[in-house]
């Protein structure tokens, strides 16, 4: 029986509402229970608009759940989650700071001397393959390069938990593979707890230890929880040809399709919230 503290993130009956302009409330996420172990890489997959970003925002402490509680390493979260680094779905770099300043800022505001922070930032830029781009501004980078800067910006603070929201979403297939390999390489160094949102089942299987499937919203629920037992280290491009990968893909997809259809019929027939 694992004790409380072996969970990095624990969502306990978390439901989330949004106030709409017409005064009604929109119930985005129905009460959800989800725990992510320390050092565990969990992928969250679901149809668009089902509440994946919303769930991450709750784990980040940016959104207050309407009910239930969020626990981080056994402690109830009431403010920003200080143990987490968050790679956002949208562009979130500060456009007025250079790439190097963007990466260094997390250390600087925590009191690290500027020179040390700059050196560390340069090290991280080299690790994400952007060593020569420190002086540029974010607008002068490609989408994939910006995502890599974002990764360096988050990882330089060495968070215990990594929240990633479709980090490779807007990238082309080749770049996604390269980014996936880069992410696995960096992750394998200290195996942070990861919540990784994606709509790409292939990517989820290639990267994660466990895959969570969410139903279509509103009042989205968790409708599947699959362990991925493929051994590590993995090669994100190669592993897709592994027969076990395909078997797992089929198994999850069958369940996903059935459940999504079922979830769809449930909500389609239900009275509007």
């Amino acid at each position: 029986m694992p004790n409380e503290n072996s969970h990095a993130v624990r969502l306990h009956g978390v439901s989330i509402d949004f106030a709409l302009a017409n005064g009604k409330r929109f119930e985005a996420v129905a009460p959800v229970d989800l725990s992510v172990g320390d050092h565990e890489f969990v992928a969250i997959v679901g149809p668009t608009g089902c509440g994946k970003s919303t769930l991450l925002n709750a784990a980040a402490g940016l959104l207050k759940p309407a009910s239930g509680s969020v626990e981080i390493f056994g402690e109830r979260l009431s403010d920003i989650n200080r143990k987490a680094g968050y790679l956002f779905q949208q562009d979130a770099l500060m456009p007025w700071k250079t790439v190097s300043d963007n990466v260094a800022i997390g250390l600087e505001i925590a009191g690290t001397p500027t020179r040390v922070a700059r050196e560390k930032a340069q090290e991280w830029l080299v690790r994400v393959g952007l060593g020569a781009f420190g002086d540029r501004f974010p607008q002068m980078l490609s989408g994939g390069q910006r995502k890599r800067v974002g990764l360096a910006q988050v990882l330089i603070r060495d968070p215990k938990i990594l929240l990633m929201d479709e980090p490779f979403g807007p990238l082309d297939a080749q770049t996604r593979l390269i980014m996936g390999d880069l992410l696995l390489k960096l992750w394998s160094e200290d195996r942070k707890a990861v919540m990784f949102v994606t709509h790409d089942l292939d990517e989820a299987i290639a990267l994660a230890d466990r895959i969570i499937i969410m139903s279509a919203g509103p009042r989205s629920r968790i409708i599947g929880d699959f362990p991925v037992t493929l051994e590590r280290p993995r090669d994100v491009g190669e592993i897709r040809h592994d027969p076990r990968f395909n078997a797992l893909h089929r198994e999850i997809w069958d369940a996903l399709r059935d459940q999504v259809m079922a979830a769809y019929q449930n909500t389609a027939g239900a009275p509007a919230a």
Partner: protein, 256 residues
């Protein structure tokens, strides 16, 4: 378009205008040259007048006064605009209460304020500075207000997740965002600082470009009026060029 060609064409426009003007005021092609040069002066005399101003050095004093007024108006208006813009953007209740008054104050034509400022601050430079401030302040104020309000939500959330407290958010997020709006309105606000200074001088003073033009008008010295206007135009072009240089440095991150 090729830069050299562009500048040549721009100079060509000036030359053609001058030549047409010269022909109109010295031949009978467009009517009586006497009448025309009475109303529009003639380019040779205007150029001669400008030349005298610069060679005798009298113009520098007036240019210096106008420049001082414009710079002071810009600095005071901009700093005031930044401070109040920030304050209002961070205090929605304050902004809501004062909204109609801010709009009403901004709708006031500044010319009607000139006599009041002359009464309050005298006929020296400060009444002109005050006039410029009332113009610059509102431009900067609205831009800062907008800049703080429109900070991108993901950038703000990211900064909070990176560990910034309120003070650090102000320094690293709100201020740069607001300033980028201020800088992008730099041409307008600097232009208005000059307008404020010149209009103030025009309506009552003893020095500056506006004074020069007003003096000439007072004695129907059309050549003087046109010479004053051309110096003013050149002055504005130079100031605008300097602003472009500053802008290029400050907004380097906004790659096209």
């Amino acid at each position: 378009m090729n830069r050299g060609l562009l500048i040549s064409l721009q100079i060509l426009v000036a030359v053609v205008t001058l030549v047409l003007w010269h022909i109109a005021s010295s031949t009978t092609l467009f009517g009586d040259p006497k009448t025309i040069s009475f109303f529009f002066a003639d380019p040779i005399s205007v150029i001669k007048r400008i030349w005298t101003w610069f060679s005798s050095g009298t113009i520098w004093y007036h240019l210096g006064i106008t420049l001082t007024e414009a710079v002071l108006a810009f600095l005071i208006g901009a700093i005031g605009g930044v401070v109040f813009g920030f304050w209002f953007a961070r205090k929605p209740l304050l902004a809501a209460v004062f909204d109609p008054y801010v709009k009403a104050a901004n709708a006031l034509p500044r010319v009607v304020l000139a006599p009041i400022f002359a009464l309050w601050f005298g006929l020296g430079i400060w009444s002109k500075v005050a006039l410029g401030v009332t113009l610059v302040f509102f431009i900067v104020f609205f831009n800062v207000y907008q800049g703080v309000k429109e900070v991108s939500q993901p950038v703000l959330n990211n900064a909070r997740m990176l560990g910034m407290n309120e003070r650090q958010l102000l320094r690293h997020i709100y201020l740069p965002s607001a300033l980028s709006w201020v800088f992008s309105s730099l041409h307008t606000s600097v232009g208005f600082a000059v307008v404020g200074a010149v209009v103030g001088e025009y309506l009552g003073s003893a020095a500056g470009l506006g004074y020069l033009i007003h003096q000439a008008e007072g004695v129907f010295d059309v050549v003087g009026v046109f010479a004053g206007m051309f110096v003013l135009m050149a002055f504005v072009l130079v100031v605008d060029g300097l602003v472009s240089l500053v802008e290029k440095r400050l907004l380097a991150w906004r790659a096209s």
